[in-house]
Protein backbone atom coordinates (compact mmCIF):
# COMPACT_ATOMS: atom_id res chain seq x y z
CA UNK A 1 0.00 0.00 0.00
CA UNK A 2 2.81 2.31 0.94
CA UNK A 3 4.73 1.50 -2.24
CA UNK A 4 1.72 2.17 -4.38
CA UNK A 5 1.06 5.56 -2.80
CA UNK A 6 4.75 6.45 -3.15
CA UNK A 7 4.60 5.54 -6.83
CA UNK A 8 1.49 7.62 -7.34
CA UNK A 9 3.09 10.53 -5.48
CA UNK A 10 6.22 10.34 -7.67
CA UNK A 11 4.21 10.10 -10.85
CA UNK A 12 2.33 13.21 -9.87
CA UNK A 13 5.26 15.25 -8.62
CA UNK A 14 7.93 14.45 -11.22
CA UNK A 15 6.22 16.25 -14.14
CA UNK A 16 5.68 19.20 -11.89
CA UNK A 17 9.35 19.21 -10.90
CA UNK A 18 10.42 19.02 -14.53
CA UNK A 19 8.48 22.24 -15.16
CA UNK A 20 9.94 24.05 -12.16
CA UNK A 21 11.08 27.63 -12.74
CA UNK A 22 14.61 28.00 -13.97
CA UNK A 23 16.19 31.34 -13.28
CA UNK A 24 18.97 33.30 -14.93
CA UNK A 25 21.14 35.93 -13.34
CA UNK A 26 23.09 38.73 -14.97
CA UNK A 27 26.68 38.53 -13.74
CA UNK A 28 28.52 41.19 -15.71
CA UNK A 29 27.35 43.79 -18.14
CA UNK A 30 28.56 46.71 -20.16
CA UNK A 31 25.96 48.96 -21.71
CA UNK A 32 27.30 51.66 -24.01
CA UNK A 33 25.27 54.37 -25.68
CA UNK A 34 26.78 56.26 -28.58
CA UNK A 35 25.98 59.89 -29.30
CA UNK A 36 26.96 61.64 -32.52
CA UNK A 37 27.33 65.32 -33.26
CA UNK A 38 29.25 66.99 -36.10
CA UNK A 39 31.79 68.13 -33.49
CA UNK A 40 31.58 65.28 -30.99
CA UNK A 41 31.45 61.51 -30.82
CA UNK A 42 30.64 60.34 -27.31
CA UNK A 43 30.25 56.96 -25.65
CA UNK A 44 28.57 56.64 -22.27
CA UNK A 45 29.20 53.42 -20.39
CA UNK A 46 27.47 51.73 -17.49
CA UNK A 47 28.49 48.52 -15.76
CA UNK A 48 25.73 48.76 -13.18
CA UNK A 49 22.92 46.88 -14.93
CA UNK A 50 21.02 44.22 -13.05
CA UNK A 51 19.14 41.41 -14.67
CA UNK A 52 17.08 38.34 -14.07
CA UNK A 53 15.39 35.73 -16.19
CA UNK A 54 12.66 33.32 -15.24
CA UNK A 55 11.75 30.31 -17.36
CA UNK A 56 8.42 28.63 -17.01
CA UNK A 57 6.49 26.32 -19.31
CA UNK A 58 9.09 26.61 -22.06
CA UNK A 59 9.11 30.41 -22.10
CA UNK A 60 11.68 32.66 -20.48
CA UNK A 61 11.03 36.21 -19.35
CA UNK A 62 14.07 38.41 -18.93
CA UNK A 63 14.33 41.78 -17.27
CA UNK A 64 17.37 44.01 -17.40
CA UNK A 65 17.45 47.35 -15.58
CA UNK A 66 19.99 50.09 -15.13
CA UNK A 67 19.93 53.49 -13.46
CA UNK A 68 20.30 56.33 -15.96
CA UNK A 69 22.73 58.17 -13.69
CA UNK A 70 25.22 55.29 -13.78
CA UNK A 71 26.21 56.06 -17.39
CA UNK A 72 29.61 57.68 -17.52
CA UNK A 73 30.78 59.55 -20.62
CA UNK A 74 33.99 60.82 -19.04
CA UNK A 75 32.60 64.31 -18.45
CA UNK A 76 30.47 65.09 -15.39
CA UNK A 77 28.91 68.13 -17.01
CA UNK A 78 27.79 66.11 -20.03
CA UNK A 79 26.47 63.31 -17.82
CA UNK A 80 24.38 65.74 -15.80
CA UNK A 81 23.07 67.28 -19.01
CA UNK A 82 22.19 63.79 -20.29
CA UNK A 83 20.38 63.14 -17.01
CA UNK A 84 18.38 66.34 -17.45
CA UNK A 85 17.54 65.76 -21.11
CA UNK A 86 16.42 62.17 -20.54
CA UNK A 87 14.50 63.15 -17.39
CA UNK A 88 16.69 60.75 -15.46
CA UNK A 89 15.72 62.16 -12.09
CA UNK A 90 12.00 61.78 -12.80
CA UNK A 91 12.43 58.36 -14.43
CA UNK A 92 15.63 56.98 -12.93
CA UNK A 93 15.54 53.45 -14.36
CA UNK A 94 15.87 52.13 -17.89
CA UNK A 95 14.35 48.68 -18.13
CA UNK A 96 14.38 46.15 -20.94
CA UNK A 97 12.00 43.20 -21.07
CA UNK A 98 12.10 40.33 -23.46
CA UNK A 99 10.65 36.87 -23.80
CA UNK A 100 12.40 33.96 -25.45
CA UNK A 101 11.51 30.31 -25.95
CA UNK A 102 13.58 28.25 -23.55
CA UNK A 103 14.65 26.04 -26.43
CA UNK A 104 16.37 29.00 -28.15
CA UNK A 105 18.62 29.82 -25.22
CA UNK A 106 21.41 27.58 -26.48
CA UNK A 107 21.37 29.09 -29.96
CA UNK A 108 24.40 31.13 -31.14
CA UNK A 109 22.06 33.88 -32.31
CA UNK A 110 19.04 35.21 -30.51
CA UNK A 111 16.22 37.05 -32.21
CA UNK A 112 14.76 39.27 -29.52
CA UNK A 113 11.67 41.40 -29.26
CA UNK A 114 12.49 44.09 -26.74
CA UNK A 115 10.28 46.34 -24.71
CA UNK A 116 12.32 49.28 -23.47
CA UNK A 117 11.07 51.71 -20.85
CA UNK A 118 13.07 54.89 -20.71
CA UNK A 119 12.47 58.58 -20.02
CA UNK A 120 8.82 58.02 -19.28
CA UNK A 121 8.07 56.23 -22.53
CA UNK A 122 8.01 52.69 -23.82
CA UNK A 123 9.43 51.57 -27.15
CA UNK A 124 9.28 48.16 -28.80
CA UNK A 125 12.07 46.81 -30.95
CA UNK A 126 11.34 43.61 -32.82
CA UNK A 127 13.82 41.11 -34.18
CA UNK A 128 16.90 42.64 -32.62
CA UNK A 129 19.74 40.19 -33.28
CA UNK A 130 22.05 39.19 -30.44
CA UNK A 131 24.97 36.81 -30.65
CA UNK A 132 25.64 34.31 -27.93
CA UNK A 133 28.82 32.53 -26.92
CA UNK A 134 28.40 29.79 -24.35
CA UNK A 135 31.39 29.06 -22.17
CA UNK A 136 30.52 26.49 -19.53
CA UNK A 137 27.57 27.92 -17.70
CA UNK A 138 28.31 31.48 -18.82
CA UNK A 139 26.23 32.82 -21.68
CA UNK A 140 28.00 35.83 -23.19
CA UNK A 141 25.50 37.89 -25.16
CA UNK A 142 26.30 40.88 -27.35
CA UNK A 143 24.17 43.05 -29.58
CA UNK A 144 23.01 46.56 -30.27
CA UNK A 145 19.62 48.07 -29.58
CA UNK A 146 18.83 50.52 -32.43
CA UNK A 147 17.29 53.13 -30.17
CA UNK A 148 16.60 56.71 -31.17
CA UNK A 149 15.79 59.84 -29.22
CA UNK A 150 12.42 60.21 -30.92
CA UNK A 151 11.40 56.72 -29.75
CA UNK A 152 11.34 58.15 -26.25
CA UNK A 153 10.23 61.68 -27.13
CA UNK A 154 13.55 63.13 -26.05
CA UNK A 155 14.35 66.51 -27.52
CA UNK A 156 17.85 66.33 -29.01
CA UNK A 157 20.27 68.59 -27.15
CA UNK A 158 22.33 70.88 -29.33
CA UNK A 159 25.86 72.22 -29.34
CA UNK A 160 26.55 75.46 -31.21
CA UNK A 161 22.89 75.32 -32.28
CA UNK A 162 23.42 71.99 -34.08
CA UNK A 163 21.38 69.15 -32.55
CA UNK A 164 22.88 65.73 -31.92
CA UNK A 165 21.90 62.81 -34.16
CA UNK A 166 18.60 61.13 -33.45
CA UNK A 167 20.21 57.68 -33.42
CA UNK A 168 21.53 56.63 -30.03
CA UNK A 169 22.44 52.94 -30.46
CA UNK A 170 23.03 51.08 -27.23
CA UNK A 171 25.52 48.27 -27.32
CA UNK A 172 24.79 45.46 -24.89
CA UNK A 173 27.50 43.14 -23.64
CA UNK A 174 26.22 40.85 -20.92
CA UNK A 175 27.13 37.59 -19.24
CA UNK A 176 24.25 35.53 -17.88
CA UNK A 177 24.36 32.44 -15.74
CA UNK A 178 21.56 29.95 -15.12
CA UNK A 179 20.94 29.27 -11.50
Amino acid sequence: MKRRSLLVFMLLTLPALSQADRTWTLDQSTLTYHMSHPLHEVDGVSHAAKGKGVCHSGECDFLLAVAVKTFNSGDTNRDLHMLQVTRGAQFPIVSVRLRLPESSLASPTLDCDLEVQFAGNTAHYSHVPFTQVIDGTAHHITGTVPSTLSDFKIEPPSFFTVPIKNEIPVRVDAVWHPS
Binding site: A65, T76, H81, E115, G120, H124
Partner: protein
Protein backbone atom coordinates in the same frame (compact mmCIF):
# COMPACT_ATOMS: atom_id res chain seq x y z
CA UNK B 1 48.06 118.51 -7.66
CA UNK B 2 47.41 118.50 -11.41
CA UNK B 3 48.59 114.90 -11.52
CA UNK B 4 46.13 113.98 -8.77
CA UNK B 5 43.31 115.69 -10.66
CA UNK B 6 44.12 113.86 -13.89
CA UNK B 7 44.36 110.59 -12.01
CA UNK B 8 40.97 111.09 -10.42
CA UNK B 9 39.39 112.11 -13.76
CA UNK B 10 40.72 108.95 -15.42
CA UNK B 11 39.49 106.81 -12.59
CA UNK B 12 36.13 108.50 -12.66
CA UNK B 13 35.73 107.67 -16.37
CA UNK B 14 36.56 104.02 -15.83
CA UNK B 15 34.39 103.70 -12.74
CA UNK B 16 31.42 105.44 -14.41
CA UNK B 17 31.71 103.18 -17.47
CA UNK B 18 31.97 100.08 -15.34
CA UNK B 19 29.12 101.12 -13.04
CA UNK B 20 26.84 101.88 -15.96
CA UNK B 21 27.52 98.51 -17.51
CA UNK B 22 27.19 96.63 -14.25
CA UNK B 23 23.91 98.39 -13.48
CA UNK B 24 22.50 97.56 -16.88
CA UNK B 25 23.62 93.96 -16.79
CA UNK B 26 22.66 93.67 -13.12
CA UNK B 27 19.08 94.74 -13.85
CA UNK B 28 18.69 92.32 -16.69
CA UNK B 29 20.32 89.61 -14.62
CA UNK B 30 17.93 90.11 -11.76
CA UNK B 31 14.96 89.98 -14.12
CA UNK B 32 16.29 86.94 -15.92
CA UNK B 33 17.09 85.18 -12.68
CA UNK B 34 13.56 85.86 -11.48
CA UNK B 35 12.19 84.49 -14.72
CA UNK B 36 14.27 81.36 -14.33
CA UNK B 37 13.19 81.02 -10.74
CA UNK B 38 9.59 81.26 -11.82
CA UNK B 39 9.97 78.83 -14.67
CA UNK B 40 11.85 76.52 -12.34
CA UNK B 41 9.01 76.55 -9.86
CA UNK B 42 6.55 76.15 -12.73
CA UNK B 43 8.48 73.12 -13.81
CA UNK B 44 8.33 71.78 -10.31
CA UNK B 45 4.61 72.41 -10.16
CA UNK B 46 4.06 70.91 -13.58
CA UNK B 47 6.20 67.99 -12.75
CA UNK B 48 4.32 67.18 -9.59
CA UNK B 49 0.64 67.15 -10.50
CA UNK B 50 0.01 63.84 -8.83
CA UNK B 51 0.04 60.34 -10.15
CA UNK B 52 -3.31 60.61 -11.88
CA UNK B 53 -2.04 63.32 -14.21
CA UNK B 54 1.10 61.48 -15.26
CA UNK B 55 0.04 59.13 -18.03
CA UNK B 56 3.57 59.01 -19.43
CA UNK B 57 5.13 57.72 -16.26
CA UNK B 58 6.80 54.40 -16.83
CA UNK B 59 5.35 52.38 -14.07
CA UNK B 60 7.89 50.16 -12.46
CA UNK B 61 8.62 47.14 -14.54
CA UNK B 62 6.45 45.21 -12.14
CA UNK B 63 3.65 46.49 -14.29
CA UNK B 64 5.29 45.75 -17.60
CA UNK B 65 3.46 42.82 -18.92
CA UNK B 66 3.54 39.66 -20.81
CA UNK B 67 0.07 40.26 -22.13
CA UNK B 68 1.02 43.31 -24.17
CA UNK B 69 4.22 41.65 -25.20
CA UNK B 70 2.21 38.65 -26.39
CA UNK B 71 -0.21 40.84 -28.31
CA UNK B 72 2.74 42.72 -29.85
CA UNK B 73 4.17 39.43 -31.04
CA UNK B 74 0.87 38.39 -32.52
CA UNK B 75 0.68 41.54 -34.59
CA UNK B 76 4.35 41.55 -35.52
CA UNK B 77 5.53 40.30 -38.86
CA UNK B 78 8.97 39.46 -40.18
CA UNK B 79 9.89 42.94 -41.42
CA UNK B 80 13.18 44.60 -40.62
CA UNK B 81 14.24 45.93 -37.27
CA UNK B 82 14.00 49.54 -38.44
CA UNK B 83 10.43 49.01 -39.59
CA UNK B 84 9.50 47.50 -36.31
CA UNK B 85 10.57 50.34 -34.07
CA UNK B 86 7.18 51.19 -32.76
CA UNK B 87 7.39 53.41 -29.75
CA UNK B 88 4.27 53.39 -27.70
CA UNK B 89 4.68 56.40 -25.49
CA UNK B 90 2.27 57.08 -22.74
CA UNK B 91 0.99 53.55 -22.47
CA UNK B 92 0.94 51.98 -19.11
CA UNK B 93 1.83 48.35 -19.12
CA UNK B 94 -0.60 45.90 -17.58
CA UNK B 95 0.56 44.13 -14.45
CA UNK B 96 3.09 41.38 -15.00
CA UNK B 97 1.76 37.91 -14.33
CA UNK B 98 3.14 36.11 -11.33
CA UNK B 99 6.56 34.65 -11.91
CA UNK B 100 7.86 37.32 -14.28
CA UNK B 101 10.84 39.19 -12.86
CA UNK B 102 10.23 42.62 -11.45
CA UNK B 103 12.52 45.50 -10.55
CA UNK B 104 12.20 44.47 -6.92
CA UNK B 105 13.48 41.00 -7.89
CA UNK B 106 16.65 42.69 -9.17
CA UNK B 107 17.31 44.08 -5.71
CA UNK B 108 16.28 47.63 -6.59
CA UNK B 109 14.72 49.45 -3.68
CA UNK B 110 11.58 51.60 -4.06
CA UNK B 111 13.77 54.66 -3.44
CA UNK B 112 15.94 53.75 -6.42
CA UNK B 113 12.93 53.18 -8.65
CA UNK B 114 10.89 56.19 -7.57
CA UNK B 115 11.34 59.38 -9.55
CA UNK B 116 12.17 62.68 -7.92
CA UNK B 117 10.31 65.56 -9.55
CA UNK B 118 12.06 68.16 -7.42
CA UNK B 119 15.47 66.92 -8.50
CA UNK B 120 14.31 66.93 -12.11
CA UNK B 121 13.15 70.54 -11.75
CA UNK B 122 16.54 71.38 -10.26
CA UNK B 123 18.30 69.72 -13.20
CA UNK B 124 16.09 71.65 -15.62
CA UNK B 125 16.90 74.94 -13.90
CA UNK B 126 20.61 74.11 -13.89
CA UNK B 127 20.59 73.37 -17.61
CA UNK B 128 18.62 76.52 -18.37
CA UNK B 129 21.06 78.71 -16.43
CA UNK B 130 24.13 77.03 -17.90
CA UNK B 131 22.75 77.48 -21.41
CA UNK B 132 22.54 81.23 -20.74
CA UNK B 133 26.04 81.07 -19.24
CA UNK B 134 27.26 79.39 -22.44
CA UNK B 135 25.61 81.91 -24.75
CA UNK B 136 26.77 84.93 -22.77
CA UNK B 137 30.24 83.43 -22.54
CA UNK B 138 30.45 83.07 -26.29
CA UNK B 139 29.10 86.58 -26.90
CA UNK B 140 31.65 87.96 -24.41
CA UNK B 141 34.43 86.77 -26.73
CA UNK B 142 33.47 89.64 -29.07
CA UNK B 143 34.16 92.57 -26.69
CA UNK B 144 37.19 90.73 -25.26
CA UNK B 145 38.65 90.35 -28.75
CA UNK B 146 37.68 93.93 -29.65
CA UNK B 147 39.37 95.25 -26.50
CA UNK B 148 42.51 93.28 -27.35
CA UNK B 149 42.54 94.61 -30.91
CA UNK B 150 41.81 98.19 -29.87
CA UNK B 151 44.67 98.05 -27.37
CA UNK B 152 46.99 98.85 -30.27
CA UNK B 153 45.66 102.40 -30.28
CA UNK B 154 45.59 102.84 -26.51
CA UNK B 155 49.15 104.06 -25.87
CA UNK B 156 49.67 107.82 -26.24
CA UNK B 157 50.31 108.96 -29.78
CA UNK B 158 53.61 110.87 -29.85
CA UNK B 159 52.57 112.79 -32.96
CA UNK B 160 49.22 113.75 -31.48
CA UNK B 161 49.54 113.59 -27.68
CA UNK B 162 46.22 115.34 -26.99
CA UNK B 163 44.05 112.78 -28.79
CA UNK B 164 42.58 110.14 -26.49
CA UNK B 165 39.84 108.76 -28.80
CA UNK B 166 41.53 105.41 -29.42
CA UNK B 167 42.21 105.06 -25.73
CA UNK B 168 38.60 105.89 -24.86
CA UNK B 169 37.34 103.31 -27.34
CA UNK B 170 39.66 100.74 -25.78
CA UNK B 171 38.43 101.67 -22.28
CA UNK B 172 34.79 101.38 -23.37
CA UNK B 173 35.33 97.98 -25.00
CA UNK B 174 37.23 96.77 -21.94
CA UNK B 175 34.35 97.95 -19.77
CA UNK B 176 31.81 96.06 -21.91
CA UNK B 177 34.00 92.93 -21.77
CA UNK B 178 34.23 93.08 -17.97
CA UNK B 179 30.48 93.68 -17.63
CA UNK B 180 29.59 90.80 -19.95
CA UNK B 181 32.09 88.57 -18.18
CA UNK B 182 30.45 89.38 -14.82
CA UNK B 183 27.02 88.53 -16.23
CA UNK B 184 28.35 85.24 -17.63
CA UNK B 185 29.95 84.34 -14.31
CA UNK B 186 26.78 85.06 -12.33
CA UNK B 187 24.82 82.47 -14.33
CA UNK B 188 27.43 79.80 -13.63
CA UNK B 189 27.72 80.70 -9.95
CA UNK B 190 23.96 80.77 -9.38
CA UNK B 191 23.21 77.54 -11.29
CA UNK B 192 22.05 74.95 -8.76
CA UNK B 193 24.58 72.33 -7.75
CA UNK B 194 23.05 68.91 -8.21
CA UNK B 195 26.01 66.62 -7.71
CA UNK B 196 28.84 66.42 -5.22
CA UNK B 197 30.92 64.25 -7.51
CA UNK B 198 34.33 65.62 -8.39
CA UNK B 199 34.45 67.07 -11.89
CA UNK B 200 35.69 64.81 -14.70
CA UNK B 201 36.60 65.68 -18.27
CA UNK B 202 36.83 69.04 -19.96
CA UNK B 203 34.74 70.77 -17.30
CA UNK B 204 37.60 70.20 -14.83
CA UNK B 205 40.04 72.32 -16.86
CA UNK B 206 37.25 74.81 -17.55
CA UNK B 207 36.90 75.30 -13.79
CA UNK B 208 40.65 75.46 -13.12
CA UNK B 209 41.04 78.23 -15.68
CA UNK B 210 38.68 80.40 -13.61
CA UNK B 211 41.62 80.92 -11.25
CA UNK B 212 43.44 82.70 -14.06
CA UNK B 213 40.81 84.65 -15.95
CA UNK B 214 38.67 85.74 -12.97
CA UNK B 215 41.51 87.59 -11.16
CA UNK B 216 42.66 88.76 -14.59
CA UNK B 217 39.28 90.33 -15.30
CA UNK B 218 39.51 92.26 -12.02
CA UNK B 219 43.16 93.23 -12.35
CA UNK B 220 43.11 94.25 -16.01
CA UNK B 221 40.80 97.28 -15.65
CA UNK B 222 42.57 98.40 -12.46
CA UNK B 223 45.97 98.26 -14.14
CA UNK B 224 44.41 99.82 -17.22
CA UNK B 225 43.11 102.75 -15.20
CA UNK B 226 46.54 103.24 -13.65
CA UNK B 227 48.19 103.13 -17.09
CA UNK B 228 45.51 105.47 -18.46
CA UNK B 229 46.23 108.07 -15.80
CA UNK B 230 49.97 107.79 -16.17
CA UNK B 231 49.67 108.23 -19.94
CA UNK B 232 47.23 111.14 -19.56
CA UNK B 233 49.63 112.93 -17.29
CA UNK B 234 52.33 112.64 -19.90
CA UNK B 235 54.27 110.02 -18.03
CA UNK B 236 55.61 106.85 -19.47
CA UNK B 237 53.54 103.93 -18.15
CA UNK B 238 55.57 102.45 -15.35
CA UNK B 239 55.42 100.24 -12.28
CA UNK B 240 52.67 97.65 -11.92
CA UNK B 241 50.59 99.51 -14.51
CA UNK B 242 53.03 98.40 -17.19
CA UNK B 243 51.74 94.83 -16.61
CA UNK B 244 48.28 95.81 -17.87
CA UNK B 245 48.87 94.48 -21.35
CA UNK B 246 50.42 91.19 -20.22
CA UNK B 247 47.67 90.57 -17.68
CA UNK B 248 45.01 91.39 -20.29
CA UNK B 249 46.46 88.97 -22.84
CA UNK B 250 46.83 86.21 -20.22
CA UNK B 251 43.22 86.79 -19.19
CA UNK B 252 41.94 86.70 -22.76
CA UNK B 253 44.03 83.60 -23.51
CA UNK B 254 42.81 81.70 -20.47
CA UNK B 255 39.24 82.78 -21.23
CA UNK B 256 39.38 81.35 -24.74
CA UNK B 257 41.13 78.24 -23.39
CA UNK B 258 38.24 77.77 -20.94
CA UNK B 259 35.77 77.82 -23.84
CA UNK B 260 37.81 75.32 -25.83
CA UNK B 261 38.32 73.09 -22.77
CA UNK B 262 34.61 72.64 -22.16
CA UNK B 263 34.07 71.80 -25.84
CA UNK B 264 36.94 69.33 -26.04
CA UNK B 265 37.52 66.83 -27.63
CA UNK B 266 36.30 68.07 -30.99
CA UNK B 267 35.91 65.58 -33.85
CA UNK B 268 35.67 67.15 -37.24
CA UNK B 269 35.38 63.96 -39.25
CA UNK B 270 31.82 64.76 -40.33
CA UNK B 271 32.81 68.02 -41.97
Amino acid sequence: MALCRQFSVGWARVVINALALMTLSGTSLALAAQAIGQSGSELATKADPGPAALPDAPMPAVLAGREREASTRETSDSSSVQDKQQPKPGEQSPPAPPGAPSLADLGLTPEQIRGDNKEQALLDKRTQMLKIHQRLGLITVIPVAAACISSAGAPPDRNNPGSTTSRDVHVALGGVAVGMYAATAIYAIRAPKVSNEPARGGIKLHKYLIYIHAPGMILTPILGAMAFNQANSGEKVHGIASAHSAVAWATAGSYVAAIVAVSWPIHLKHF
